[in-house]
Symmetry: C2
Subunit: 158 residues, 2 copies
Amino acid sequence: MNVNVDLGRVMKHQELWLENQICHRLYMASNSVNRAYRPLLDALGLTYPQYVVMMSLWQTDGVMVNELQSTTQIDNGALTLILKKIADKGLISLIPVADDRRKKRVSLTADGKGLQEKAASIPNAIRCRFPSLNDEDSTALKLLLDKLLGDLQGQSDE
Amino acid sequence: MNVNVDLGRVMKHQELWLENQICHRLYMASNSVNRAYRPLLDALGLTYPQYVVMMSLWQTDGVMVNELQSTTQIDNGALTLILKKIADKGLISLIPVADDRRKKRVSLTADGKGLQEKAASIPNAIRCRFPSLNDEDSTALKLLLDKLLGDLQGQSDE
DNA sequence: TAAATTTACTTTGCATGCAAACTAAACTAG
DNA sequence: CTAGTTTAGTTTGCATGCAAAGTAAATTTA
């Protein structure tokens, strides 16, 4: 008695069923998480990608755009606009490097540094939205996502 | 000897570090997966969300738009455009329901049904991109993502 | 050292994702 | 039966994500 024929469906192409796919779950999870962040980030005047950039800078300030790109994995084209926007908000300054005038250094302003205190409560607020995931689950999930990311990163380079 | 101070960073706000976050991994994973699908889906003339809609219809044809929305989790506004586009490609027909003229039934055309054969190889091609994830890992990852999705779904309704 | 190439972004065109406003049809209360 | 409400989709404005073309500066070649 296979559950897959309960509704009289043909047993063909089960790999194409949404319930069987990791990728569709990732798609839904990423969007759901983004929606969960929105109300919290609205209070800071940031979008999620902008928040990711700020987090990266709070951790390591004064980096080149391409370093920020590889850390955050945000698309280059999008990153240009995102940096322009958070620069307009006065959170960062974009300074061309004297050595190599193609490069730009991204540095936090005082306001940008100060925003970290306001953001400090967000990670915990988000974690509380996943009551079903205990610490062990979280660790396991990170590990599995790292495996997946490792696979996908390596391949494009070869 | 804590690895977190290896580079002399202050031990403050570690929750804000990207490496410690599930959400940033989900963001990167979802985008990476989307990029992995692109060359495969280009051959079918579909984008990933369009492919998700087609998969849902291959599994259950002739549903209302709102059923398709809850199955695929694609945004309503986006879904309207996506349905218009795959209808323009001749893969589906959108027929207003006689009972309730607000509703529309989404039905596969012969071409739409035929496309399933061409798509049949995609799930396996994608799975091959994750050599590090064995079957056990895949099952575990699905389970963890389902937990996370369950948490996020329930909350917005309350 | 002049041409070819590479590097570090920027810009452009298209396709979502999302919240919010909007429309039309069906439903409920009085 | 009519006003108010809910439901099913659509439209709109803004912010990415992505591939591809474009730019300017640095590097390598010949």
